[in-house]
């Protein structure tokens, strides 16, 4: 917040008027430029994914492989967001500062955004590649869906008008339970169907083309910059919101005091 512009706020003294700063501007432009390069790489440079089997059949993901450069980083950003929410919630319960509470809120929102994007892009990719929009037996699919649902519930709690401290504490517990629950859901779905359509560590097995691998790594980097940019803005929005709420309370208090002062003077009470 210290780097943000503080003049002509209109809100109050010492409260920044914008969520933008030098750092976020740099991150924002980096994201845009990175995304432009990523689009060029994904569509022009990376060849379509084909393999010829021993029987001479042509198999592979074909053009759908280009969706990977959105799908895989989205999934990683979603898990990063939820992981950060988990850590920030732990930190909140330990130190009870608004900073950690706002951090948990901001990262959960970003997590849900990218979790939803992961599910949508995965579905679109799965249709031509796996011949299905959705596969109930797939552990990662179902786990991600439940995880997004759990954190949508978490965000619902965050939207309830209630005392800030009460809401922060309960949200933190919900985030912790939700994160633990992800592990249980993952294990139970694994036992439930015990199969996955997802590739097992193609990166390690070096079955992936060099162009695809480079573009995938590049997409992770762009994703991380985007994540930082979104997180800074969202965190600052949360901070401004808390400042406005505080100001409103103070204003209302001042008004009540003024009213009381007027009504008191004719009565002559001390």
């Amino acid at each position: 917040m210290t780097t943000a512009a503080t003049e002509s706020t209109g809100i109050g003294d010492g409260i920044p008027a914008t969520t933008s700063s030098k750092a976020t501007k740099v991150l924002g432009w980096l994201t845009l430029a990175g995304f432009a390069v990523l689009v060029a790489l994904a569509f022009a440079w990376v060849p379509e994914d084909t393999r010829i089997t021993e029987q001479g059949d042509v198999v592979g993901q074909f053009d759908a492989v280009r969706l990977m450069f959105v799908h895989v980083p989205s999934a990683i950003l979603a898990y990063t967001g939820f992981g950060l929410t988990f850590l920030a919630s732990l930190a909140y319960l330990r130190w009870r500062t608004d900073w950690w509470d706002m951090m948990a809120h901001a990262s959960a929102e970003i997590g849900v955004l990218f979790g939803g994007l992961t599910l949508v892009t995965g579905s679109i990719w799965g249709r031509p590649t796996w011949q299905t929009w959705w596969e109930w037996g797939d552990v990662r699919l179902v786990t991600t869906l439940v995880m997004v649902l759990v954190f949508i519930g978490y965000l619902a709690v965050r939207r309830i008008p209630a005392d800030v401290a009460v809401k922060a504490r309960r949200s933190a517990v919900i985030a912790l339970v939700g994160a633990v629950n992800i592990v249980i859901v993952n294990r139970s779905v694994d036992w439930w169907e015990n199969r996955t359509l997802h590739q097992q560590s193609t990166l390690i097995a070096r079955k992936i083309r060099d162009e695809t691998l480079f573009t995938l790594s590049f997409s992770f980097a762009v994703g991380m910059v985007l994540f930082a940019w979104l997180l800074l803005h969202r965190f600052r929005t949360a901070y401004l919101q808390s400042q406005i709420e505080e100001l409103e309370v103070n204003e209302a208090l001042a008004e009540r005091r003024a009213e009381a002062g007027i009504s008191e003077s004719p009565g002559g009470r001390p």
Partner: protein, 222 residues
């Protein structure tokens, strides 16, 4: 502590015995859901028999939402929760007591619904031991997770709509495990019923410990 927990169990169950809300409203609701499932799946007896375990547990979860919501609504009325807090009873005992009381209600509901499933959906029980154990373990899991989440949303003003959103994704593993165990017990699908019992017991244990540990922090401002 166990004596205190037992007091809470007695209090909650006595309220239920006297008000009969569970018996007069929640059980009829659950039976209605079973009937609706039959309508939804047409008069196909074979489909009903095949999907009876899943339908049974979805019904139990829906009814459990009502029972859990009610358990906390009763505590909030007339400032009863504040007095409970002032009474100096250990929060762990309160959590345990409420969870056991909800579990007992769920077991009663399961017995009645089980009879309904046998009669309406024409299923036959092959393994009674597995059926009973899975029923008890699943009730314990739903009750512990439900008590934790019930306390989390208690007093937030919108708990009727919030509890399902939060609790249902969390008890998804119970639905999977209990359905698989019942499929085995009903003999409708080859499933490792006893292995799934382990998942149910583990779920109940995890939420029991987690709920007991965090209940104090949740009660202090409720």
């Amino acid at each position: 502590m166990f004596r205190d927990a037992w007091l809470i169990v007695g209090k909650d169950l006595r309220i239920e015995m006297r008000s009969r809300v569970g018996l007069n409203q929640i059980v009829p609701f659950a039976v209605t859901v079973l009937v609706l499932f039959a309508f939804a799946l047409d008069t196909d007896q074979e489909a009903l028999r095949t999907y009876a375990p899943g339908l049974f547990w979805v019904t139990v979860l829906l009814a459990a939402l009502l029972a859990i919501g009610r358990s906390f609504a009763v505590d909030l009325a007339d400032g009863a929760a504040d007095r409970l807090l002032l009474s100096g009873i250990d929060p762990i005992a309160v959590f345990g007591g409420k969870a056991v009381a909800i579990a007992v209600q769920l077991v009663v509901l399961e017995v009645l619904l089980g009879a309904g499933v046998v009669l309406l959906f024409d299923v036959t029980v092959h393994r009674y031991g597995l059926l009973v154990c899975a029923g008890l373990a699943a009730a314990a899991g739903v009750a512990t997770a439900g008590t934790l989440y019930g306390a989390l949303v208690a007093g937030l003003g919108v708990r009727e709509t919030l509890l399902p959103v939060l609790l249902l994704p969390v008890v998804a593993p119970v639905l999977i495990g209990a359905t698989r165990a019942f499929q085995d017990a009903f003999g409708v699908a080859g499933a490792e019923g006893w292995a799934w019992l382990g998942l149910l017991a583990g779920f109940a244990a995890i939420y029991g410990v987690f709920g007991a540990l965090s209940y104090g922090a949740l009660l202090e401002e409720a």
